[in-house]
Symmetry: C2
Subunit: 410 residues, 2 copies
């Protein structure tokens, strides 16, 4: 296969200079075993094939499909750790270091879980690597029926192209295995390597037609490039042709916008993630690619990354033809209704939910937890307590996800 | 006075190598005379000392104080034009070229006003330079009582420090003159030169105590630096000590975050302005400067630059002490309620207004038009038709502005 090398984030790890998998797996297994789980979690850690019954507001049990739920696999985790150890200026390395290369002392006790999100990061890896035990127990404890799983940030996008292609395949195979083991509990969004658009489209076709996965997830920019660039159009074309949605998950701002986010940890979930992913979405709207691929479905997390807030101004300032540089044939709000869906990950605010339902349409809003980065129980409480009609709540909790991600009814 | 030179946007214009004011004034006067005003505007162009009566929803006339209304003066306009002609990579130059150095053919006809915001930009300068004729006529035509005036983007912040200091003084003097000529119609926010913090604080003191202006306006970053940097603390200290609010108005993203905004005119009001100003606000929250200056009042336009949308996530991810790099002692939402006020400029969306009232508090939301960049009549219609109680509408229309900017009751 011909590999094109793209201008890239430094550092990159190539397959040749990288990992001893046996060593890596041993290391990570030890880390997972050493992590002290909170007592309440250990109590709940029994594997189940069915969620626990709960009593949501409607009386009858509400099916809950969480749509932005992260996993990793040991090989990718080790390669990410190696990237961290190489160092570099990419702002994602700050969080990745805490997750994948934290000093053992930081690993989870109940106290640090409560006290500091920096310390919490040091406890995430075992949860990311687990499909069958911790994850199902946490789902059961809160009555969560299903995780729509996706390879966690930054996916394969910081690796050299050949390694990225290999890891996307491996990750998708493992995801398929997890879904086969627990078909009532897991579905999945496939990874692909935008670094190699041709390999990416091959893998996308395989992921849907052979592995029977439910869509795709990309972690915003790849080596500082956005999907409106023509070299990525085959990826957008494939997603549209396969009828499978493309979730644009955040990562830290690309190097060309990094400077103001480099203080106060603003690069990540505090602020930079939303700016990065929202900017990516607006580029797609204004570049005209959504006119070229009118049936492409983009999913945004975090209540649409503030795009719903800005739609009036986007429509006013970026009406078709209003500026020479604009390529859009429709108003941004028209694309938003036609080409986008959003999830509630990490923004459990009932007022924002209502605004987003008004802007995106009740058909296009899906519930998410952002496991393991956000706790499950409050996300469930948010879903069950938000001011929604029974019909609206069912759409947000599961019906929209069933339609958009082609998930079988319960 | 000792002038410190800061790392700067290129290009800069210094006083010594710059303008022949006589030539400049002649040029701009000719431009203004040549601009063909729309017929309905010419019809309305009579000077008045009182707004026209209107019939707002409440029955009795609603006082309307617009709080983000732009002006320029010929000397500054000429210097900005010279900056444009020097060229450079700063993204603000794209819009500034259209406004200050547009080919004459672009100047205003009714047709281009309707057709293209690029062409509209070529018609703005006469409106920016006028206090006494066009502006009052447009206010009267829609029943607007008062403009809270401010030197338009980028203020004096792209000039060399000595020139910036001089132009801030000159601009503030002219603003004071306009307010004296029309005390019932104009109040003003003073300019200052962050490039020279000591001169800035002197000018801030003069603007409030001698010129009797009502606050300050800064156009976000100055030479890519943000106000949380220690060298700017004297400016924040002065604003707090003077009890005068500091409006942080957008400009295009700073050079260190410019790259993804350099396509599709995303640097400006379409998307980049909100990112730039919102990021500035979040830096102030997370840097701890609002603990150092707890009575500082910051005003944000554009419904708070999406900060209200993100507050739940900001609180969750940036709780005090939750990450080693965070310096904030309060939750972001606590600063938002205590230290911020917002205006409705350029985002006339009733749903967003309701969200913002919930987040900022009804005491802290003020109406604005963003004259002459946005049309007056729709902004008035938005104010008069939004779903607000009579009491809420009065607070947004004038009472909050009267309190925050110390404007006398009508």
């Amino acid at each position: 296969m011909a590999l094109r090398r793209l201008p890239s984030d430094k550092p990159q790890t190539s397959v040749r200079d990288s990992i001893d998998r046996r060593t890596a797996l041993g290391h990570l297994s030890a880390m997972a075993a050493a992590a002290a789980w909170p007592a309440n979690l250990s109590d709940a850690a029994r594997v189940s094939s069915e969620p626990q019954p709960t009593s949501p507001s409607g009386g009858s049990r509400l099916r809950k499909i969480a749509t932005e739920e992260a996993f990793s696999i040991p090989e990718v985790a080790t390669a990410v750790r190696d990237l961290v150890r190489q160092g570099g200026r990419n702002l994602d390395l700050k969080l990745l270091k805490l997750i994948y290369d934290a000093p053992p002392a930081a690993a989870g006790t109940q106290q640090v879980l409560k006290g500091s999100r920096d310390a919490l990061a040091g406890t995430l890896l075992p949860r990311l690597l687990d499909f069958d035990t911790i994850r199902l127990a946490e789902m059961d404890a809160s009555g969560v029926d299903m995780h729509v799983l996706s390879l966690t940030m930054p996916g394969v996008q910081m690796f050299a192209p050949d390694m990225a292609v290999e890891f996307a395949r491996l990750s998708n195979d493992r995801l398929r295995d997890a879904v086969r083991r627990h078909p009532a509990r897991f579905t999945g969004l496939a990874s692909f390597a935008p670094q190699d658009a041709r390999a990416a489209t091959n893998e996308m076709e395989r992921a849907i037609n052979s592995l029977k996965l439910n869509g795709f997830l990309v972690n915003s920019h790849t080596n500082n490039a956005y999907l409106d660039e023509t070299r990525f159009w085959p990826i957008l074309e494939a997603a549209e042709a396969l009828g499978a949605p493309l979730y644009i998950h955040p990562r830290a701002p690309s190097d060309g916008m990094a400077a103001p986010f480099s203080d106060y940890r603003m690069e990540g979930s505090i602020w930079g993630y939303g700016i990065e992913a929202g900017t990516h979405a607006v580029r797609l709207m204004l570049s005209g690619v959504l006119d070229r691929f009118p049936r492409l479905r983009i999913v945004l997390g975090h209540m649409g990354e503030a795009v719903p807030f800005w739609l009036w101004r986007l429509d006013y300032m970026a009406a078709p033809g209003s500026r020479a540089a604009l390529k859009n044939q429709l108003k941004p709000s028209e694309y938003f209704r036609r080409n986008f869906a959003i999830t509630t990950s990490g923004l459990e605010d009932p007022g924002v939910l209502r605004l987003c339902i008004d802007k995106a349409g009740i058909d296009n809003v899906m519930w998410a937890i952002d496991y393991p980065y956000q706790p499950t129980a409050p996300a469930v409480a948010f879903l069950e307590s938000a001011q929604l009609s029974d019909s609206e709540r069912e759409m947000v909790a599961h019906r929209n996800a069933e339609r958009i991600f082609r998930i079988a009814d319960a």
